[in-house]
């Protein structure tokens, strides 16, 4: 595999992403149409609308691991099935506000677990052990951005806004609330959100990992995160670097550093 997303095609990601070896974590629709990151078009502002975009585009709503929108066919995703099974075994209805499903240890492609001092058992826990789809989605964003930049060079125009739009849409679709890799929310029944705060750490890890693979610098990731926290979270920690509490910051940085280490490819 070429290590640079700009040098590899989406088909390749699809082939790797949806290879038989990883079939357990792959949904058929995703496999049939490997387009993990939707395109943002500035001439159509709705494509930048975090919510309508995600909700109106059935491609983007397919969560390969099924952790987030567990309604409809997404319920067959491995993450949704895990949480649903745990709920059933513990008498928790899928319309309950919370699920205590503890998850499974995250395993890097080399088989190692990820130490996490904020976890009761000392390792990073998630609804699924495989975070390769997160990294792949990040690389797909980078590929789109690189393509826009290349087109701009050849076409002699400024692609800044298009690149920004793709970044915003890609990050929002994958990481913001109800994003595909936001593991701390699940919607088993439309309109009824189930909280999974036990997956907060891995969700923040995903932010760092995906953003690193998408080509952002660590400072950019933390600045974006801090800005959103300032706008949207009462838990914003004004006296902390980037306004992020240490736990959130640590896991975001850990995800970023794990991505930068080459654990998921470059």
């Amino acid at each position: 595999m070429a290590n640079n997303g700009a040098e590899t095609g989406l088909d390749y990601f699809g082939a790797r992403y949806f290879s038989g070896a990883q079939g357990r974590f792959t949904s058929p629709d995703w496999s049939a149409k490997p387009q993990p990151v939707p395109y943002a078009r500035l001439e159509d502002p709705q494509t930048l609308n975090l919510y309508s975009y995600v909700r109106n585009n059935p491609l983007s709503r397919i969560d390969p691991d099924g952790h987030i929108d567990c309604t409809g066919k997404n319920a067959q995703g491995i993450g949704c099935q895990y949480i649903a099974q745990w709920n059933a075994e513990h008498g928790i209805g899928n319309t309950a506000k919370k699920s205590g499903a503890p998850g499974v240890p995250v395993k890097l492609p080399n088989g190692q677990t990820v130490p996490n001092r904020y976890s009761a058992n000392g390792v990073l826990m998630a609804p699924t052990s495989d975070l390769r789809p997160v990294a792949a989605a990040g690389r797909a964003i980078k590929k789109n951005v690189d393509e826009s930049a290349s087109l701009a060079v050849y076409g002699g125009y400024d692609a800044g806004s298009a690149i920004l739009g793709q970044l915003v849409a890609g990050l929002a679709t994958n990481l913001a609330q109800n994003g595909d890799f936001d593991y701390q929310r699940a919607t088993f029944v439309k309109g009824q959100l189930q909280q999974l705060p036990q997956f907060r750490d891995v969700s923040n890890f995903n932010v760092g990992l995906l953003a690193q693979q998408a080509g952002l610098s660590l400072d950019e990731v933390l600045t974006i995160a801090g800005t959103y926290a300032l706008l949207k979270s009462p838990n914003y920690s004004s006296d902390q670097p980037y306004g992020l509490d240490p736990r959130t910051r640590d896991l975001t940085v850990l995800g970023y550093q794990t991505g930068a280490s080459g654990a998921y490819g470059q």
């Binding site: 502002p45 930048l48 609308n49 975090l50 919510y51 309508s52 506000k97 001092r117 904020y118 976890s119 009761a120 990050l171 990481l175 913001a176 609330q177 109800n178 936001d182 701390q184 929310r185 959100l193 909280q195 705060p197 907060r200 969700s203 923040n204 932010v207 974006i224 995160a225 959103y228 926290a229 706008l231 949207k232 979270s233 009462p234 838990n235 920690s237 902390q240 992020l244 509490d245 240490p246 736990r247 959130t248 975001t252």
Partner: protein, 150 residues
């Protein structure tokens, strides 16, 4: 005359700024870039009357690109009837303690430790976001057994 004109300019400028910010905010909310439902809160515990004070413990989990959570302790006077809008405002709750929970998330315990003294205990926190030592004439003490990020 000049001062009137200056005041008018300042007033118009202020209205312009407020309108611009307001329209921008509404636009961002409308497009979903600032969603209104980023956080989920739930009441964990209410102590209706402890030495004349009402305490409420609230958990808030937010999804603001990164994900954060916090346990907040609010206090208000317990003996005040709040019929009118003004009375409710005058007896509005005050945030005195907010922390990011640690590896486990047990409820904080709140007890009176003396006259006009309150003790809030929590076994472990990841970090403290806000910590008030005094509320009106009440001093607030804390017993945090383990702070992971002091």
């Amino acid at each position: 005359m000049a001062s009137k004109r200056t005041a008018r300019i300042v007033l118009i400028s202020a209205i312009g700024v407020v309108l611009t910010v307001g329209v921008g905010y509404v636009l961002l909310r409308f497009t979903g870039l600032i969603p209104s439902d980023a956080c989920v809160s739930e009441d964990l515990k209410t102590i209706p009357n402890l030495s004349g004070m009402r305490f409420k413990v609230e958990y808030t989990n937010c999804d603001a690109f990164v994900k954060d959570e916090a346990v907040s302790v609010y206090v208000a006077r317990a003996d005040r009837e709040a019929d009118s809008w003004f009375a409710k405002w005058a007896n509005r709750r005050t945030l005195i303690f907010r922390y990011d929970p640690g590896r486990k998330n047990p409820l904080p315990s709140i007890e009176a430790s003396g006259k006009d003294r309150i003790l809030i205990s929590v076994p472990e926190v990841s970090s403290v976001i806000l910590q008030s030592r005094r509320w009106h004439n009440v001093s607030i003490e804390y017993k945090i057994e383990h702070n992971m990020n002091p």
